[in-house]
Amino acid sequence: MIINLNGQSKELTEPITVTELIEQLNLKGPLAVEINKMICPKASHHETQIKPGDTLEIVTIVGGG
């Protein structure tokens, strides 16, 4: 399936949860996930299935003023 991840399209093999995607991307730092403009809370990452056409944002913290 194709999803939009951080503004770019990405092909994923179904089925896949948010936790599995984070592992696949090898993201180890602090992050937050938004799916279709709604927060996907940390506690739900493991049970949230990503669906075709979903728009995901995975964000972290950087320096800022």
């Binding site: 991840l5 951080n6 503004g7 991307l25 090898n26 993201l27 180890k28 730092g29 602090p30 992050l31 937050a32 996930v33 938004e34 403009k37 927060i39 809370p41 940390k42 944002e57 995975i58 964000v59 972290t60 913290i61 950087v62 320096g63 800022g64 003023g65």
Partner: protein, 265 residues
């Protein structure tokens, strides 16, 4: 210098340092760490950005900020409409598990001036969602009042455009904002050097938030130290009852007993 340890409240938090510093634009995380330490700040701002998924993982800034010591304040910098700023605030809350946000809704990239319409709209929504909103705004007393009425915990008028280093451009407006405010006013952005911070504090601001003035100084750690003293100096001076400005001189030494060669003077 005598340090006065008067604390002040911002939403659920209580602080003694009135200097709030950003964490952007430092050459290294180590330099940032030293500057934070020298500034004496207790609140540091950070930004929310997309993970760089296809690069090597860089070190994360949070590994360089002791969260037992500093309270992190996520911002919505880079958002140009209310919707993006609201999403950004929610992401920051989810990431850092904090209930507050430094709200910025900007108009365009050249001026980085706040967009009043989007700023007010985002403030109203985020307040309803339970956020403690510290809102960046222009130095407009009318807008400041609107934001206060919308439920902002602190209104943060700009001294000058973000990163411009011009200092307090319109002290009269800041003074009017301060006179009429019922919430803490923190002067945010545009500060270039220590005296700018002191000017803001002498006007009666609750605190000053700055980033570039320290991070882009040639010696950020020394400038952070200067800013710390500047905050204290302005805070004390404002509460000391300064003398009125006069047109003519007033001698400090007594006239009586002055030696003189002119008889009768």
């Amino acid at each position: 210098m005598i340090a006065e340890q008067n604390t002040f409240k911002l939403g659920p938090y209580e602080f003694s340092s009135r200097l709030f510093v950003g964490t952007g634009k430092y050459e290294t995380f180590e330099l940032m760490q030293q500057a934070l330490e020298a500034s004496g700040a207790e609140v540091v701002t950070v930004a929310v950005r997309r993970e760089r998924l296809y690069d090597d993982q860089e070190r994360n800034i949070l590994d360089f900020i002791d969260r037992d010591r500093y309270t992190l304040l996520p911002n919505t910098a880079g958002c140009f409409n209310a919707e993006d700023a609201i999403r950004c605030a929610r992401l920051g809350r989810e990431l850092l598990e904090v209930e507050w946000v430094k709200l910025e809704v900007l108009a365009d990239k050249q001026t980085l001036l706040p967009d009043p319409k989007g700023t007010l709209e985002a403030t109203e929504t985020l307040v309803k969602e339970g956020f403690t909103v510290l809102v960046y705004t222009n130095d407009d007393p009318v807008m400041a009042k609107h934001l206060e009425e919308a439920g902002a915990t602190s209104v943060m008028p700009a001294a000058a455009p973000i990163g411009s280093g011009q200092g307090v451009l319109n002290p009269n407006n800041i003074r009017i904002i301060l006179e009429r405010a019922n919430v803490p006013i923190i002067v945010d952005a545009g500060v270039g050097t220590a005296s700018d911070v002191t000017v803001a504090m002498e006007l009666g601001a609750e605190g000053v938030l700055l980033n570039t003035g320290i991070a882009c100084a040639q010696d950020p750690v020394r400038m952070a130290t200067a800013m710390k003293h500047a905050i204290e100096a302005g805070y004390l001076a404002y509460r000391s009852g300064r003398i009125p400005k006069k047109l003519y001189a007033t001698a400090s030494s007594p006239w009586e007993g002055t030696i003189t060669s002119h008889a009768g003077s």
